[in-house]
Symmetry: C2
Subunit: 291 residues, 2 copies
Amino acid sequence: MILDGKKIKNDLLENFKEKIKTEKLYIKLAIILVGNNEASKIYIKNKEKACDYVGIKVEKYLLEENITENDLLKLIDKLNNDTNTTGIILQSPIPSHLDFDKCSNYIQASKDVDGFTKENIYKLYLGKKTILPCTVKGIIKLLEIYNIPIEGSNAVIVGRGNIVGHPLSLALLNKNATVTVAHSKTKNLKNITRNADILISATGKPHLIQKDYVKKDAVVIDVGVSRVNGKIVGDIDFREIVDIASFITPNPGGIGPMTVAMIIDNLIEMEERKRKVENKNINFAHDKNRQ
Amino acid sequence: MILDGKKIKNDLLENFKEKIKTEKLYIKLAIILVGNNEASKIYIKNKEKACDYVGIKVEKYLLEENITENDLLKLIDKLNNDTNTTGIILQSPIPSHLDFDKCSNYIQASKDVDGFTKENIYKLYLGKKTILPCTVKGIIKLLEIYNIPIEGSNAVIVGRGNIVGHPLSLALLNKNATVTVAHSKTKNLKNITRNADILISATGKPHLIQKDYVKKDAVVIDVGVSRVNGKIVGDIDFREIVDIASFITPNPGGIGPMTVAMIIDNLIEMEERKRKVENKNINFAHDKNRQ
């Protein structure tokens, strides 16, 4: 069965749109792009389109390639302190004279849409409620929507990057999967992946995962994105594996759309949390007035 | 072959003693104990004994069971600011009216002997140089001393606690092992553990790991500590497995002593780092004077 990320995304966006309208949520996303990376521009366009559709305001900050770290941090500081800004995305990659780790960690944890700050990763590590990185959340949401059990399953993740593989391993462990992380130094990769009930590949190596890498009836999720002769190719050899897997994501049309939907999901969660805090403060003020 | 943690610890302590003496390292460890936990007192005694032996000063702070969080934080603050204190250990567990996570994170990262603060865990997550939790470091050191290759091996960790299992999974991943984390929700545990080249159990379930859980010639490491009829019993059924494993830790006498040795190792590392920073500052001051 196909895990139809595109359709699920569209359904989710409808729900989000309705929710934002009826609950009168005012949400604003700030996106910071440094320089002129063409791929980044396409990613940002996709985010903008989804935000527009559901009624989230997007403010883009297009900064010069040679901006100083200090100026970038000043902008983030301003957005951290702006009560109208719900969330902030610092689009990666940024030019090499800027320290991405330092700059992205400058984003206040409660406005960290991507869930990559120290604060949020530490909570993820401890198994506490946190803002999940969007791709990680998209994978888990897709599994949940198709009623695929995570608890007690053998999940094998190929790739250990800080955007997907690594945080996903923590998130699936929190969901009580038995988690294996494989990578470029893994020996006999197919012996490892053949143990997977849920196999997730996030390496960017075109068609790394072949037919004989997959157990019958496994759930197979493709997060890889490569370009081969101008075409997007995933990590998974879809055509060879579609008949072996019980569930499989197409690529494109699988995890990509889910990631975009989860940006909106995170923003709504953040706005709701903000409202709760504000309401508490209002109630607290009322209580004080009553004393 | 037996992985003789006790012997290795003694050898290491000799080296540490020599190093501290010849390099004239002045190291002071502050240990904070809240309340009267008997097991904690034994652990602290072991740490003190090793420190005494190598020439590290230990200052114990024995606090009343009912101390306020504020007073505990004040003490940690004082120790953070004391230039003569090299490292701080807040002995767990602490009474339940105190938030261990909050209090232990109050320890300055550079004085965090246990390596459990947010700062140090985040570095471990990112694969950067950090202060490793002592048991984790003890396991890795033992493997390295016996020339057991970690890179490319299939490491299976049973248990995902924040003291051993969880940080160990990050550390072994950084060492390029293929890492699987199994736990109480894992189904068919023995099918998982039988894939291990290196099997580490840290659950505290007496003799959880039986003969049929272990592949021939695997390396088997026992971190579990339980008391059965007053005797210390590990996770591993040693007698049944000693002939199957290529290497195996006894318990007691395996990882326990290594953990104590790594406290000293961390303290020396911290003192050396401090000296480097101080020397830099002195050089910087000299440079300024020359201008």
